[in-house]
Symmetry: C2
Subunit: 238 residues, 2 copies
């Protein structure tokens, strides 16, 4: 049975990738990617020495409107010659906060074996480093852009923290981080714990959890830097 490999990529620092990943990737002839240019650059960086124009069959996805017909055609073509297919993420794990799961569900229909590979996930790294409960958590993706809806969502997440203790994770387009940050400080209860992981895996990495009231007296610069945010409470202890 042909396989669908779900291939993670780095968060900006290739040293966080397993150096043996390239051995898994090199035999895969069909690659479905979000952006051809960054996918090729990533593969070169981890040591894929193929002639990309001749030895790889690429399918570039439209992130906002993945074209199901193109995906199915690629998977059918690969299957007819018993070739494996790889799905490569722009950053971190494919299918998490990106449209990759559309490809996986078509691969299930066509009886591919699904093979997720281990790599860095900003969501998991943020949760691990937050000190907030990891027993139950929710990831909300991008919050609404419109301010009133965003504020409503922030308050709803805080209610989930207070009711269930479940950590609430979310993100924002980097150039809007500071607007989100302001809303968080305005909307959240002063005693709520607010976590931010910024530039994960990079030399400029910056990871912190504080009460909202303590953040208010501090100036932070998150503008145009990749961040994961979380709110939650500490685990109960003896």
């Amino acid at each position: 049975m042909p396989r669908l490999y779900l291939i993670p990529s780095d968060l900006g620092n290739p040293d966080c990738m397993d150096p043996r990943l390239v051995e898994t990737i090199t035999p895969i002839e069909y690659l479905i990617v979000e952006r051809l240019r960054t996918a090729r650059r990533f593969l070169r960086k981890i040591g894929d020495k193929r002639n990309f124009d001749e030895e790889v069959r690429w399918l570039e996805l439209d992130k906002h409107n993945p074209n199901v017909k193109h995906i199915r055609k690629t998977l059918q073509e690969a299957k007819s010659t018993s070739q494996d297919v790889g799905v490569l993420s722009e950053a971190g794990n494919p299918c998490i906060a990106d449209p990759g799961s559309v490809i996986v569900s078509i691969a299930y229909e066509l009886n591919f074996e699904i093979e997720p590979l281990v790599g860095p996930s900003s969501i998991l790294l943020a949760l691990t480093g937050s000190g907030l409960s990891g027993q139950q958590f929710s990831f909300h993706g991008y919050l609404p852009v419109e301010q009133a809806s965003r504020n409503k969502r922030i308050r709803a997440m805080e209610q989930s923290v207070n009711a269930y203790g479940a950590t609430q994770l979310f993100m924002e387009t980097p150039y809007r981080n500071m607007a989100l940050w302001k809303s968080l400080l305005n909307q959240l209860n002063p005693s709520t714990l607010l976590h931010v992981s910024c530039d994960l895996t990079l030399d400029t990495q910056w990871i912190k959890t504080k009460k909202v009231s303590d953040w208010k007296s501090e100036s932070v610069d998150l503008h145009k830097r990749p961040c994961i945010f979380a709110i939650g409470r500490k685990m109960r202890m003896k």
Copy 2:
């Protein structure tokens, strides 16, 4: 500033660990672990050649009741001599579905720098391989053991899928997997998509998503095997 390293371990297959992890771990003198025996075995397996009795200072945690006094004492002692501390998980990432986040929150109080390391997460691998939406998801940990409460929780998770499309992930103590599986097939709507990832990263790995109605005609053996379960719906497509 001393660092608190959050160290992942394997899910049973050491080939899924970055082979360079041992270089990061070996200089860490203080290690906080869930079980001394499995921690030592794991470190040997990835190539830590130290004399564990003489060169490592261990703190074994009580999983159900992490003792805050012992954790604080260990971190304070390490800090007073500018030593780094490592937290090692039993399986996968520390602080996810385990008590590690208690240690992180004490480390924040004592001004440690927090350093989460990349490793395999069964939750992320399951979500990636499920073909269910990864734009929004929740992890619920272990469901209630008592049948009526468990059934209620299962139906509540299905409602969240139907209302928001958010994928719902959960797990069970492996010897109770088949009881949970029966409840899932009984309680869920026939058209709901049910995913199970079993023995992730092992040679016996088994990953599948089907409609509940399709699962009903199939016999599955999940008894005493580590599993992650998920329910959800497909991402919308053109």
